[in-house]
């Protein structure tokens, strides 16, 4: 096996034993990127020289847990001295003077940032087609989307361009692309990982998470990035356990629920079958598996699109061309400066969501839309509380379909929003959720979603690991290289 095909734990093992150097790993990764990137197009910014230089340095001195292992960051994470665009013309030339906390932690742990990964503009989208620059292609079928908004982060891991990457998940933006790309995508509980330095989309829903090739890697990276940050008032002051300690505990006696609403007619048959089979596996191996109801499931998506867009409309108002970002040169007055800079800097999907969010908050509509959505949010949260009173985990498909074709959903915004229908309830309740590969349909990956109680990341990883060990799909995307 090539170095670029290995997982983080495999690489750490080799590095620990001195069987391989950081430089060799960096070279393997960068060569891999060279050979597949023109097909996958996962990266917005690639800094090869810096990566090789850092890798060489790491060879010469102690390298932290990661010892020079390369990784990628969704271009939503601010990186000091490295351009951070959020896949938007608005920030095409923005170079932050600070590192996001999660990025800083990975750097401190010895990781080497290879580059910034493509995404839907300002994290708004489910296909990465809304990037202002170009679309990323699903390594399993280059004519299909990798999902979004963290499409680049998912595709890069699926294509073995990096062993792991970070993304963000506001309505499913880690889990959905992980499902489409056949990789592991973990969204922790709201407040588990610091949001400081991550450009905000919807402040009460955004969370930072991990893309990896297997569950153990997910646990390892979570160990590095989770934890309280005094700079983020919404990050919790709870100890971070060693997530790898949960992996070998098995699933005997675990109580698993599956919500009937998540297996409805809108979900592709092969996907339902695949997840039912997984549920059977859990049952056969000692877990209690029962059907439950999350009665307000169908209201999660409409409520989400009011809460998220309302918060986004406020979060994106700072982009006015004055202190950073695209500035319209010809503006005659301040209103023109703001309105034209924003019109030129933002793409259609972003504009649409800003308009929707502004409307939902506006005088006369606040009660009927935004306030109503917050009330429905409580109902959704209560649904989960009830189920978690009796169960440890909830399992469902991650997405209603496998990866759709590029261009397929660009005509009607609502059809694209629908792809988040199974992931969004988790964000609304602030809960942790993982997507792991559990099969294929027509050669395209299927993802299974495992949802846990607040701060029960360990339990999720425990169940995911057990399943993965016995059900690991042994395929790689047919990128037709070598």
């Amino acid at each position: 096996m090539e170095l670029y095909e290995l997982t983080v734990h495999q690489l750490v093992n080799l590095l620990d034993k001195g069987e391989v150097s950081s430089r060799e790993i960096a070279d393997s990764i960068l060569d891999r990127i060279q050979s597949v990137e023109s097909k996958v197009k996962a990266f917005l910014t690639l800094d090869e020289d810096r990566a090789r230089e850092q890798a060489s340095q790491t060879c010469r001195q102690a390298g932290g847990f990661l010892q020079g292992i390369p990784y990628g960051l969704k271009d939503l994470f601010c990186t000091r001295g490295m351009r951070t665009t959020c896949a938007s013309r608005m920030l095409e030339h923005f170079v932050p003077p600070y590192d996001a906390t999660a990025a800083r932690k990975l750097a401190q742990a010895g990781g080497i940032l290879v580059g910034k990964l493509n995404m839907d503009e300002f994290a708004m989208g489910s296909s990465t087609e809304h990037s202002a620059f170009f679309a990323t292609h699903n390594p399993w079928d280059l004519e299909r989307v990798p999902g979004g908004s963290s499409g680049g982060s998912a595709a890069a891991v699926a294509a073995d361009e990096v062993p792991f990457s970070l993304g963000s998940d506001t309505g499913g933006s880690i889990r959905q692309p992980a499902s489409f790309c056949g990789v592991v995508g973990f969204r922790p509980t709201y407040g588990r990982v610091s949001r400081w330095g991550v450009v905000a989309f919807a402040s009460s829903l955004d969370q930072v998470g991990v893309f990896s090739k297997d569950v153990r890697d997910s646990a390892l990276v979570m160990n590095l990035i989770a934890g309280h940050d005094p700079l983020d008032s919404t990050s919790v002051n709870l100890e971070v356990p060693d997530y790898t300690a949960f992996l070998n505990k098995g699933i005997k006696g675990m109580k698993i629920a599956y919500p009937r609403e998540h297996f409805g007619p809108g979900v592709q048959n092969e996907i339902k079958q695949s997840v039912y089979q997984a549920l059977q596996w859990f049952e056969q191996n000692g877990a209690v598996v029962e059907e439950v109801s999350l009665p307000h499931s169908e209201y999660a998506l409409p409520a989400y699109y009011l809460v998220a867009t309302a918060e986004a409309s406020a979060n994106l108002a700072r982009f006015d061309g004055v202190r950073f970002g695209l500035r319209d040169e010809g503006a005659d007055n301040i209103i023109e400066l703001f309105s034209r800079s924003r019109a030129n800097g933002f793409g259609a999907e972003v504009k649409r969501r800003i308009m929707l969010g502004t409307y939902a908050l506006s005088s006369g509509y606040y009660d009927a839309y935004y306030l109503k959505a917050l009330k429905v949010r409580r109902l959704i949260w209560e649904d989960f509380q009830k189920v978690f009173g009796d169960y440890d985990l909830i399992i469902s498909p991650t997405t209603p379909t496998t990866a759709f074709k590029l261009g397929e959903k660009l005509g009607d915004p609502l059809t694209e929003y629908m792809t988040d229908i199974l992931t969004v309830p988790v964000n609304m309740a602030g809960l942790p959720g993982i997507s792991i590969p559990c099969g294929f349909a027509g050669g395209l990956p299927i993802g299974m979603q495992i949802i846990g109680k607040a701060f029960a990341e360990g339990t999720i990883l425990q169940a995911a690991y057990a399943f993965e060990q016995s059900n690991r799909p042994n395929q790689k995307p047919p990128l037709g290289v070598n």
């Binding site: 994470f77 601010c78 951070t84 959020c86 920030l91 923005f94 932050p96 003077p97 600070y98 996001a100 949001r195 400081w196 330095g197 991550v198 450009v199 905000a200 402040s203 009460s204 005094p230 700079l231 983020d232 008032s233 919404t234 309302a310 918060e311 409309s313 406020a314 108002a317 700072r318 982009f319 006015d320 004055v322 202190r323 950073f324 301040i334 209103i335 703001f338 502004t358 908050l361 506006s362 005088s363 606040y366 935004y370």
Partner: protein, 484 residues
């Protein structure tokens, strides 16, 4: 102004809370720094930045609320007030909308000798915006420069009910509010530095009318004087309009200090839809009663209490007591001086008279005063003892003010000690009487002026240093002995 109408005033005051650092980040709040040197990505609204609340802001807000007799909320939160303006980096201001930290308070003002309560609707925490400096002239087109040093400085917005009637009451409210904020130690209250700002809501109505008239909000009031003038002007404008049958429009107006008029900002105003919603980046606040009681216990004596004490313990008139309790520094100076010389009325007179005059002339605050309360006390004791005359004291005081020297030293150096020695004075009186037998006769003949002549001569001879009371007594005795 027609007295058929009453002028109804409500005031919205913003006070900068005197913390070391800003409300959501560690940048300094110090006034007067070079532009954009007290700015960081957080208070400049950069992407990915998040606020963390300065605990001292909450503490000072609670303090203020208690000093203003408010209810302190059990639960409150921040909200986003959304609007676009170049001095507002996030394009929203963190403020408190429906759940402010303080509610339902009041303060008392003195109006024509009686006490009046002015109710306070609410006080809430919010962050300040940056500063705009408008550029350009008739020849060059206008543009604006933005300095974000002030962005993120913590403010407390204090909103009164429209309980004030006329400019005088409005001014009294501001003076009392300022004194309370100073005594509570929550703000520097310097209108000239912008740490205390005031907007006035003014309307008029016929006396006896219950409904409120159309109101104007007046901005850009930079002093208490401007506040009074602006209210006077605006009230007159409203009354004239009503008498002419014109309709008044609810609007925001700006006070033009140069022209001494208000002008409509209507063309610059669009109906603001602030789209308030709860701030997701800041967890809400639960203010425990123990915290409130701790703060209450730490509050010093407030102006009203101090005023009562001065009247009660020192028999000072209310007017004097009110002036002495305008700032804590002033009260402290007074208390210290009185503790040493016990003559409260004298201390009060000197402080409100010569001291106040000299401080104002020299543009000084009392804490820059070069002499101490102890020195003032000693000077008063010297007057009491007759060592110096009241008249001498005035020049000694001025010298003390300019140099900060001890009064004893000044007296010695300038040879200003009053002559009270009766033997010495007796000899001088004798000498003068001997020298003016004719005037003695005039005196005995009933000419009043003769006595004054002799006093004048004694004063001349002693270069004004003779103790007048003793001179008068001795002179009378001597002349009356002579007589008959």
């Amino acid at each position: 102004m027609s007295s058929d109408y009453e002028v109804v005033v409500g005031l919205e005051v913003h006070a900068e809370l005197k913390t070391e650092s800003k409300i959501f980040c560690g940048c300094s709040t110090a006034f007067g720094a070079e532009p954009n040197t007290q700015v960081c990505p957080i208070c400049a609204g950069f992407p990915g930045m998040l606020p963390v609340l300065n605990r001292q802001v909450v503490e000072l807000a609670i303090r203020t609320g208690l000093a203003l007799n408010c209810e302190i909320a059990d639960f409150c939160k921040f909200d986003r007030k959304n609007y676009f303006y170049p001095d507002l980096p996030k394009a929203y201001q963190n403020s408190q909308y429906d759940l402010p930290i303080c509610k339902q308070g009041y303060l008392e003002i003195d109006v024509d000798g009686h006490r009046k309560k002015v109710r306070i609707n609410r006080a809430h925490m919010e962050e300040d915006a940056g500063k705009l400096v408008h550029q350009g002239s008739i020849t060059t087109s206008a543009y604006t420069l933005v300095d974000l040093n002030r962005s993120g400085v913590p403010l407390l917005e204090i909103v009164s009910e429209p309980d004030m009637r006329g400019p005088g009451e409005a001014r009294a409210y501001m003076e009392k509010l300022r004194a309370i904020l100073l005594f509570a130690g929550v703000s520097d209250c310097k209108m000239e530095e912008g740490s205390l700002r005031c907007d006035a809501n003014v309307s008029v109505r016929l006396r006896g009318e219950k409904a409120l008239g159309t109101r104007s909000e007046i901005k850009n009031l930079n002093s208490f004087r401007s506040l009074e003038k602006a209210i006077e002007y605006e009230a007159r404008r409203h009354i004239e309009a009503l008498e002419d049958g014109e309709k008044l429009v609810q609007e925001t107006r700006t006070w033009d200090e140069e022209k001494q008029i208000t002008q409509s900002l209507r063309s610059k105003e669009e109906a603001h839809d602030y789209r308030y919603f709860p701030e997701p980046d800041l967890p809400p606040l639960r203010i425990g009663r123990e915290w409130v009681e701790e703060v209450r216990a730490s509050l010093p004596e407030m102006p009203d209490e101090a005023q009562k004490r001065l009247v009660r313990d020192h028999g000072l008139p209310e007017y004097d007591a009110a002036l002495l309790t305008l700032t804590p520094e002033q009260l402290d100076f007074f208390d210290q001086a009185v503790a040493l010389c016990q003559d409260a009325k004298a201390v009060s007179n000197w402080m409100m008279g010569d001291m106040s005059r000299l401080l104002k002339q020299n543009n000084m605050e009392i804490n820059a005063c070069r002499f101490t309360p102890a020195q003032l006390a000693r000077m008063l004791q010297l007057i009491e003892a007759g060592t110096i005359s009241g008249k001498m004291a005035k020049s000694i005081f001025e010298e003390m003010f300019n140099s900060g020297q001890d009064p004893e030293r000044i007296i010695k150096e300038k040879g200003m000690a009053q002559i009270s020695n009766e033997d010495e004075l007796g000899k001088i009186i004798e000498k003068i009487i001997q020298a003016h037998p004719g005037v003695v006769q005039d005196y005995h003949g009933g000419k009043e002026k003769a006595f004054g002549f002799f006093v004048g001569q004694v004063m001349k001879d002693t270069r004004g240093q003779a103790n007048p009371a003793i001179v008068n007594r001795l002179l009378k005795e001597r002349l009356n002995r002579e007589g008959a």
